[in-house]
């Protein structure tokens, strides 16, 4: 699944190799961090959206909400 394609700019030769076990572990750790960061952002946005809906339900206008 994890592969590297290496192209030699001098000769044009293409070689392929599989990631090492250590490189796969590192790549998966990076991806996990990216997923967690995005999840945190989206959860925060979901909370905000929920709060805005509640304010609208209380009768506040969009202008009033924006002024908060």
């Amino acid at each position: 699944m994890y592969k590297e394609k290496i192209i030699n700019a001098q000769t044009g030769e293409e070689t392929w190799r599989d990631y090492t076990k250590e490189e796969i572990v590192e790549a998966q750790a990076i991806q996990k961090k990216i997923d967690e960061q995005l999840k945190a952002i989206l959860e925060k946005q979901k909370l905000r959206e929920s709060a805005l809906n509640k304010l609208i339900a209380l009768g506040l206008t969009e202008e009033e909400i924006a002024s908060l």
Partner: protein
């Protein structure tokens, strides 16, 4: 006329005197069409390289003495690089050992094993150096695409055109010389495409000692495309390499794409020999990676 040693009783002929005089006013030209290793007899000559492809002029120890000079010029289209063989070749910080077409310089020996190269026209024009395409690679079929065989490139422009991974929520990042050490530092602006607007979507990014240089992120949708660039400066010299980068993923029907505009540096003194474009997850399945360089 090759240099020779005169001793008491030696006869300097008229022909030799004329040759000496001629060389003094019009240095002997020795044309080369391929890479060349300097010989002792080259002292006081002009080595004129004329080749369509890249060539080298190699400098070895034990052939010249202090004060010897060799004039090196290149009239060919291929870049000719003055290369230290067994001898040391020094130059000023801003000078280059690479001679483009119609460039020249003087190789001055300070000892039998050490020379200084004085290029004649470095920086004289005051104009931006030309960039040429080093390689253009399809971003498909691999998680990492590496362009190797890069040499003597002071400045490198790396561009991503519509890069994509088979997965969504994927960061695209760069590594230099396959270095996965904590040597990448970047700071600047981050914009995240969320499902709704939030002030926090616009943020700063301040990353020190990372194991790669992130240029942006694809959205949660695998159809998201990324375009961007990184300009890498100082690639052919020692010292840290500065990096200027910008790019963003498209929404592609999802969200969570991130655009970065950053400046930073690769904390490594090695000259640049390869650039890797990496997808944090899944093989690339679209796009073009291009690397332009200027010597």
């Amino acid at each position: 006329m090759a240099k020779q040693t005169f001793t008491t009783g030696s006869v300097l002929t008229a022909a030799q005197m004329n040759s000496l005089q001629a060389n003094d006013y019009n240095w002997t030209v020795d044309s080369k069409a391929a890479s060349y290793v300097l010989q002792a007899s080259d002292a006081g000559k002009r080595i004129e390289m004329n080749a369509a492809g890249a060539t080298t002029i190699t400098v070895n120890t034990g052939l010249f003495t202090a004060g010897d000079m060799v004039y090196l010029s290149n009239i060919g289209a291929g870049t000719c690089t003055v290369t230290a063989g067994t001898a040391t070749v020094n130059k000023s910080t801003n000078a280059s050992l690479a001679l483009g077409q119609y460039q020249s310089g003087m190789l001055y020996f300070v000892s039998t094993s050490s020379a200084i190269f004085f290029p004649y026209d470095v920086g004289s024009s005051g104009t931006t150096k030309n960039f040429t395409l080093i390689n253009s690679a399809a971003l498909t079929g691999a998680t990492t695409i590496t362009i190797s065989g890069i040499s003597n490139q002071d400045n490198l422009l790396v561009t991503f055109e519509n890069a994509s991974s088979v997965n969504g929520t994927v960061a695209l990042y760069l590594r230099i010389n396959a270095d996965s050490g904590a040597n990448y530092n970047y700071h600047g602006m981050s914009l995240t495409g969320g499902s709704t607007y939030a002030a926090g979507n616009q943020a700063n990014i301040s990353t020190s000692n990372d194991t790669s240089y992130t240029v942006g992120q694809l959205s949660s949708n695998a159809a998201s495309l990324f375009s961007g660039y990184a300009m890498i400066l100082g690639g052919a010299t020692s010292g840290v390499k500065t990096i200027l980068s910008a790019g963003s993923g498209s929404a592609g029907g999802g969200n969570g794409q991130i655009g970065y505009t950053t400046g930073g540096w690769w904390n490594n003194s090695a000259t640049i020999t390869s650039i890797s474009a990496i997808s944090s997850s899944g093989n690339f399945d679209n796009g073009t990676l291009r690397i332009y360089g200027s010597a």
